[in-house]
C-alpha cells in the first residue's frame, strides 16, 4: 500500500499548519499551574491527615485517661511579688517598650525609604 504516491502527494500538498511560536511556553506554564495546584492540594491533604491523626490521638488519650479525670485538680500558681521587685519590673517594661517602639519605627522608616527609592 506504500506505493500510493498520488495520495501521499495530495496529503503533502495540503496547507501545512504550524503551531504558534509560544505554544510550548504557554503549555509549560499551564503545566506549572497544574503542578502547583496539585502540590497545594497534596499539602492540604497532608495537613488534614496530620490534624485528623492528632485529633484521634488526643481523643484516644482522653478516652484512656477517663478514669483518672476526677482526680485532677487544676490549681493556678500564686505569684508573690515584693514592692521592690515591682519597681524593677516596671523599669524593665519601660525599656522593652522603648525598644519595641524603636524597632517598629525603624521597620516603617526602612519600608518607606525603599518604596520611595523603587519609585524614583
Amino acid at each position: 500500500m506504500k506505493q500510493d504516491d498520488a495520495i501521499k502527494k495530495a496529503l503533502k500538498r495540503q496547507p501545512y499548519a504550524e503551531l504558534s511560536p509560544d505554544f510550548a511556553s504557554q503549555t509549560i506554564k499551564k503545566i506549572y499551574r497544574i503542578e502547583a495546584r496539585r502540590r497545594k492540594r497534596l499539602f492540604i491533604l497532608n495537613l488534614c491527615g496530620l490534624a485528623g491523626a492528632s485529633s484521634g490521638l488526643i481523643f484516644l488519650a482522653g478516652y484512656l485517661m477517663r478514669n483518672y479525670w476526677h482526680a485532677f485538680k487544676l490549681t493556678m500558681p500564686s505569684l508573690n511579688i515584693s514592692p521592690e521587685a515591682i519597681i524593677q519590673y516596671r523599669f524593665g517594661f519601660y525599656i522593652a517598650s522603648l525598644i519595641l517602639i524603636l524597632a517598629i519605627t525603624d521597620y516603617y522608616a526602612r519600608h518607606f525609604f525603599f518604596k520611595k527609592k523603587r519609585k524614583n
Binding site: 500500500m1 500510493d4 498520488a6 495520495i7 495530495a10 505554544f23 509549560i28 503545566i31 503542578e35
Partner: protein, 185 residues
C-alpha cells in the same frame, strides 16, 4: 533521543523536574498538531486540543509504563481528545453507497493512485480527502503522512492490525469511488 532516554526523562519529570516536559512539547507538538488540525479543520481549535492532549499526557504520565513509545502514547491521547471534541459538533459528510465501494476491485484502486504527476487527479484527491470521516483522516494521516507502521496505528487508534489494513484498503476504494462520482458529474 531513543526510547530508554525518554523513559529516563519521564522518571525525572515524575521526580519533580517539570521543566523537562518541554522536550516532549518541542519534539512531538507539531506532529500532534498536524494530526489534529486535519481532523478538526480549525487551526485555533486544533491548537487548543493539542494543548489539552499534552496536559492530559502530563497528568497521566505516571501511568506511562514504556510498553510503547512516547510518540504512540501521546498520539493515542491526542486522538481520543480529538474524538471527544468532535462528538460535540455534528459534521455532515456525504454518504457513499457501500455497494459502490464493494464493486471497486483492488486492482483498480491500486492503479488509480500509482500516478502522482496527474494534476487533475491530485485536485480530485484534495476534494475526496475532505469528504473522509475523522477515523479515515486519522488513518491516512498516520499511514501516509507520518509514515507510522501498522502496529503503531493500531495501538494509537485502539484497533487490531488487520482492522487497520482493511480500513486502509476501504479508504483507498472510497477515495476512488468519490473521484469517480465527481468526474462523472
Amino acid at each position: 533521543m531513543n526510547h530508554s532516554d525518554e523513559i529516563i526523562y519521564i522518571k525525572r519529570i515524575l521526580d519533580g523536574e517539570t521543566h523537562l516536559f518541554s522536550y516532549f512539547l518541542s519534539q512531538y507538538g507539531n506532529a500532534v498538531f498536524s494530526l489534529i488540525v486535519r481532523i478538526i479543520d480549525s487551526k485555533e481549535d486544533a491548537e487548543e486540543l493539542t494543548q489539552d492532549a499534552f496536559v492530559k499526557a502530563y497528568k497521566k504520565l505516571n501511568s506511562f509504563k514504556g510498553e510503547c513509545s512516547f510518540y504512540t502514547w501521546v498520539f493515542r491521547i491526542a486522538y481520543n481528545t480529538a474524538v471527544s471534541a468532535t462528538r460535540k459538533t455534528k459534521v455532515i459528510l456525504p454518504v457513499i453507497d457501500e455497494s459502490i465501494i464493494n464493486r471497486i476491485s483492488d486492482e483498480d484502486a491500486i492503479a488509480a493512485f500509482e500516478e502522482n504527476d496527474n494534476e487533475n487527479l491530485l485536485m480530485q484527491l484534495d476534494i475526496a480527502l475532505a469528504q473522509l470521516n475523522m477515523e479515515e483522516k486519522t488513518l491516512i494521516t498516520l499511514y501516509y503522512n507520518e509514515n507510522r507502521p501498522i502496529a503503531d496505528i493500531a495501538s494509537i487508534m485502539n484497533l487490531s492490525a488487520d482492522n487497520v489494513k482493511i480500513k486502509l484498503y476501504r479508504i483507498r476504494k472510497k477515495l476512488f469511488a468519490i473521484i469517480s462520482a465527481n468526474t462523472q458529474l
